[in-house]
């Protein structure tokens, strides 16, 4: 039986193939609980100005201890390469991580990435020694260019951020997998457990989600569902599914039937 090897990003080994976002929860307490239930050992967090008028305000990292969780800062909300690079540098200066989930958004309505700016920012940050995880379209050519620019993994979207539409183009994901040799982590667009399972069954190395869990009616239950879906999907991928056929094929032997 083929045994699985862990997901490795740069030189960092992950215990879970599920990475979760920390946005949209009612409280830090709830965020922590959902993360724990999901089994994820890596969480993505946004970089924002400190509230200096009320510094007593609780810090997210008081709940998600960087000694316990791998912290993946992101450049969510950045619309230019310059903004994203600046945000990444600040994030790294905090000392919690050399990883950066690089987002350069091209359009407010679709939140699709600006691939040109993304590529530029990837090149700059990879040269500075960052472990770059770029959020990109499900475009094999772009994926190859990002890897050439120094990306540690490629994070193609399954569908628009927060849309919950699921894996819209499994064929492109498969082509990306054949095109590049770094891990592929599906980022954005999953809605429910079967979406996560499909991504993993295709052979993706990991999946990142936020809204699908935080936005569910019961985020804790969905966190657990996602945990199992990712594990089940991965196992099914390793096990190797049967080929699809148009006609039936009996599973019971037809010899020695009673006559």
């Amino acid at each position: 039986m083929p045994t699985d090897t862990p997901l490795v990003v740069g030189d960092i080994e992950f215990r879970s193939r599920l990475i979760v976002g920390t946005g949209k929860y009612a409280s830090f307490e709830e965020t922590k609980k959902a993360v724990e239930i999901s089994g994820a050992d890596c969480v993505t967090v946004a970089v924002r100005r400190v509230n200096i008028t009320d510094p007593s305000k609780e810090n997210l990292l008081d709940y998600l201890d960087p000694k316990v969780y791998k912290i993946l800062p992101n450049t969510a909300g950045c619309y230019t390469a310059e903004e994203a690079i600046r945000t990444a540098r600040l994030a790294r200066a905090s000392g919690v991580s050399d990883m950066i989930k690089l987002e350069v958004i091209g359009d407010q309505k679709t939140l699709f990435p600006d691939n040109e700016a993304l590529l530029e920012a990837t090149r700059v940050l990879a040269k500075e020694g960052f472990i770059v995880l770029p959020y990109t379209n499900d475009d094999p050519i772009m994926a190859r260019k990002l890897v050439d620019a120094g990306a540690a993994v490629v994070m193609p979207l399954a569908a628009p951020i927060g849309s919950g539409l699921g894996i819209r183009n499994p064929y492109n994901l498969r082509i990306i997998m054949e095109t590049i040799s770094v891990p592929i982590i599906v980022d954005a667009g999953v809605g429910t457990a079967s979406d996560a399972a499909i991504a993993m069954e295709l052979g993706c190395d990991g999946i990142l989600m936020n809204t699908a869990i935080a936005g569910a009616k019961n985020p804790m239950q969905m966190a657990e569902a996602m945990k199992h879906a990712v594990v089940a999907g991965r196992l099914a991928y390793l096990a190797g599914r049967i080929p699809k056929k148009l006609y039936a094929q009996a599973s019971s032997p037809i010899e020695d039937m009673i006559e």
Partner: protein, 70 residues
């Protein structure tokens, strides 16, 4: 002297180091990052970095966010 912190005007005394200023703000140097006039200041330099009138200071931390936090 007047400086700008996270976009807002702020008063501080002359010869204030970044480390002293963060203490004035009751901010622990852990888990934050600071940029002065677009240059990231590394934590080991907080004590030796003097603030100057007109400095534009950004102090960041981490908040909940995943895919495009608003």
């Amino acid at each position: 002297m007047q400086i700008t912190v996270n976009g807002d005007p702020h008063e501080t005394g002359p010869n204030t180091t970044l480390a002293a200023f963060l203490t004035q703000l009751n901010l622990s140097a852990e888990r934050i990052a600071v940029e002065i006039n677009l240059t990231v200041i590394h934590r080991e330099d907080y004590h030796s970095t003097l603030l100057h009138p007109g400095d534009q200071i950004e102090i960041i931390s981490f908040i909940g966010g995943g895919e495009h936090a608003d």
